[in-house]
């Protein structure tokens, strides 16, 4: 087993671990915004590590995989913003554990 193969196993293993943590985080966190923390940050790094690991197994795939990584980094947070905004606009989803909520105050001020 070459050094590159070992590195590839380390990367895919770490990626899988981070993705697992992300799934567990979405399950364990108590409300919609905190679930989003786990669901955005950890899936992004998890996918990046996993894809880089695959790229080390098959070096000829690397350019395509780097492109996929770029698109994930650019689009993953955008979907999270859309979900977070939608959740904040929907009063029935509003978690009651927020200690401070400037956005609700801002909206209240506009009316």
């Amino acid at each position: 087993m070459s050094f590159l193969d070992i590195l590839a196993h380390v990367f895919t293993g770490l990626g899988a671990l981070v993705l697992f943590a992300s799934g567990l985080g979405v399950f364990r966190m108590p409300d919609v915004f905190n679930k989003m923390h786990a669901g955005t940050k950890a899936t992004t790094l998890g996918s990046i590590l996993f894809l880089l690991g695959i790229g080390l197994f098959e070096p000829t795939w690397m350019p395509k995989l780097l492109l996929v990584v770029l698109f994930i980094v650019l689009t993953n947070p955008v979907s999270s913003h859309a979900l977070a905004r939608a959740a904040h606009n929907d009063a029935s989803e509003k978690p009651d554990n927020l200690i401070i909520d400037d956005l609700a105050d801002n909206k209240g001020g506009d009316k």
Partner: protein
Amino acid sequence: MKRKPAVVSTTVVLFGIWLSLTLSTDIQEIVLGFVVSLITAVATHGALTGNLFRLLTPAKFLATIGYVFFFLGQMVKANIDVFFRIFRPVIPIKPGIVKAKLTLKSERAKAILANSITLTPGTITIDIIKDEIFVHWVFLPAGDVHAETQIMVDSFAGRLEKIFE
């Protein structure tokens, strides 16, 4: 033609994407890719990238590289933070949505700022209204939350300002 640099840099980026997706040295593929990239760039007036050539001054180039590494470091820190948080028996959270002032003018810079904040430790962006950004903390910082949030936003905004303005 005012948008010429933007069209050229969009063509270069699209052509680069084409080359890394096809990975072919066949002359037909390369010519077709170039033509399609050019048509797309002209038709969209270079809206994908804007004028990338502005980044080619040494100071802005270094600032861009610096930002990429700063961002990657923050992202790894964010994941370690999430990782150790969710394996605790009781998850330590103290959530809150805090606003901060934005000084950036460029819409592209604002979008990058919002994305960066989402991927870095303990914070996600919820909304930007005019020149205010609303950030959700999983664990509110000690002390004055508004001042702390402003410091966190400015640490990104200051770096982005060097690139975009």
